[in-house]
Symmetry: C2
Subunit: 372 residues, 2 copies
């Protein structure tokens, strides 16, 4: 697959950006009527696609791929060539901010992300700079511009960031963790140091997402991957409070259109009511939540995004179709649903199964939108 | 610490078993009045205790320790010597049943449990025997008798088992897993094979827990460690349904006293209502659940057990005390609370902090029981 190169795209102004041909995704996030339920997949540009693996090979390391705007654009668009997806998502990593703070992100095969420097003390936190997204994370902002231009109005582009708590766990642990021993110890023994770190991260994420919006992101998602590891009251104080700060500081309208915010706390199903009160437009759900009950709980405050177990994609297309049908039925008729998996698609999935999933969402959802 | 050896204890009849000196734990599980909130800790006989590490050293491997009734008794009683705990729990492993089915359980350092043989096909499942607990798991049943006798009525003894779904994941994966790829694939592609496996496991667990009860366990807990990784509807069909089968088949009264059943699904906080309807007497909560809301949701159907984040034990005794106070306050006055951690205590905890936790529960809870 070859995409045109666009040498002049950084000079495109907002006004030259073309009209959206498919705005189902944005409409559903704002609980407006749609013809069918829009669908995208977390990690849709990923290793399950042979064309992704080929581009990745060409790029070098994973971070080389993230830092090359043209190749990042290429992989972002690959799943859209295969499937009638209703949104594209910026190809990047959630740990770009701590990397820009000077911690030295790297990836060890089979080990997940690591940092050369960890953040452990009050001084470590005080010494962290708040990055300027336009200059310190210019490779991400360039990628947003490149992708937005290449999309040419086909579907909306989603920008994203990790949540402050999620970023903090990687920074304090120095990488991935099973039980967040160091982050929770810091939180319980020196809460003021953890709050200082989270405050800096909230400020950084706000600037980062706003730069993505100015560069062309038409919706943004905050990935709170590890908020669900916290006690319910610690979640409020150490994760949700900082996501609220971010949402309060975001550009909510751009290019004459609302920029919806999706908040996704994995394992946050117990806290939907307070997440829905955060100021976000949509709440992401993992597969442990009954989306029908979730809709009753949040009422018409927010849209819902989700929530099929990505493991279902290992089953036959018939089983996938029946799971899609069951989630659509639980949500029921009416507006405010963006279909997605409950977490990222895994590398072992047959691309044909992903196709069956997307097709099933569009085909089976039409009847729930007829009245609208 | 030295405990008397009891060469004749296998001949003790039920009638010679002494009266309970402290039955707070059993009373709280049945929502009866108590003077203070009873407390125990999951994995209270564990590596955080130097005396445990010494006995473990003496025993050889972890499974050698489980299989030696006298040493298993010794480590079971160690935390009771240090702390005024209100219950003892059988020292054993959750994977004894698959081991007795012939899968060859072993432990690799830093790797967690592994099986020599995994269960992957319809034939693998058909070939699995249902173990007879009295003969095939006699080392566990002997340990129950030994411990019960050594306790001499000091506090009640808890027996336990892994849940069918939790055991099945280890058996299908061949050990621990992060995303349960093989178990979920089997569940989605050959649900009838997974149901056959779970049916055999439910039958095995029922016999195993009943043998523990006959040997002297005064309450039993089902550990559904991985039920929370399932989609909400799959949880009902593949985990909760089989735990209900077990509960239906359990001896519910023994030695003239009710034998309460505790059901603990980690990450099951969204499903409390249906767990409370399973027939169990108490529901275990992890730290992600607000115990005050949980009490409202389950009403007077069941008691609640939990739910401090074990990571809190890394904080100072003052912080631990304030977290205990906050959980007691959320639960509020009245009966039906057994205090515990939301998961097992970890090896890095200072034993003095565990002591501060237990002391805080007893001291701070008294005022909530005065009216009773």
């Amino acid at each position: 697959m070859v995409y045109p190169t666009m040498p002049f795209l950084f000079e495109l102004s907002e006004n030259t950006m073309s009209e959206l041909k498919n705005d189902r995704f944005l409409r559903a996030l704002l609980r407006e009527p749609v013809d069918v339920t829009p669908v995208w997949m977390m990690r849709q540009a990923g290793r399950y696609l042979p064309e992704y693996r080929a581009t990745r090979e060409k790029a070098g390391s994973f971070m080389d791929l993230c830092k090359n705007a043209e190749l990042a654009c290429e992989v972002t668009l690959q799943p859209l060539e295969r499937y009638p997806l209703d949104a594209a998502i910026l190809f990047s990593d959630i740990l770009t901010i701590p990397d820009a703070m000077g911690l030295g992100l790297y990836f060890e095969t089979g080990e997940g992300p690591r940092f050369k420097k960890a953040v452990r003390t009050e001084k470590d936190v005080a010494d962290l700079p708040v990055p300027d997204a336009e200059s310190d994370l210019d490779y991400v902002i360039n990628a947003v511009r490149t992708i937005r231009s290449a999309l040419n109005g086909r579907v909306p582009l989603i920008g994203f960031s990790g949540s402050p708590w999620t970023l903090a766990t990687y920074m304090v642990e120095g990488g991935s963790s099973r039980d967040f021993a160091r982050s929770k110890t810091l939180m319980y023994t020196q809460p003021e140091v953890m709050h200082a770190l989270l405050g800096k991260l909230a400020q950084s994420v706000t600037g980062y997402l706003n730069a993505q919006i100015r560069a062309g992101a038409q919706a943004v998602q905050i990935f709170d991957t590890w908020g669900g590891a916290l006690a319910w009251d610690d979640y409020q104080a150490f994760s949700l409070a900082y996501m609220k700060q971010i949402i309060d500081g975001l550009i909510r309208e751009h290019e004459g259109r609302k920029v919806p915010v999706i908040l996704f706390t994995k394992n946050g199903g117990q806290w939907l009511e307070s997440i829905a009160d955060s100021g976000c437009d949509a709440v992401g759900l993992d597969w442990t939540t009954d989306i029908g009950l979730a809709r009753q709980r949040v009422g018409d405050r927010v849209a819902l995004q989700g929530n099929m177990d990505p493991a279902t994609l290992r089953a036959t297309p018939e089983v996938i179709r029946s799971k899609v049908a069951s989630i659509l039925e639980r949500f029921g008729p009416g507006n405010g649903h963006v279909f997605n998996l409950g977490h990222g698609i895994t590398p072992d999935i047959d691309p044909a199964h992903a196709g069956a999933f997307i097709e099933a969402v569009h085909e089976l959802s039409a009847k729930y939108h007829e009245a609208g």
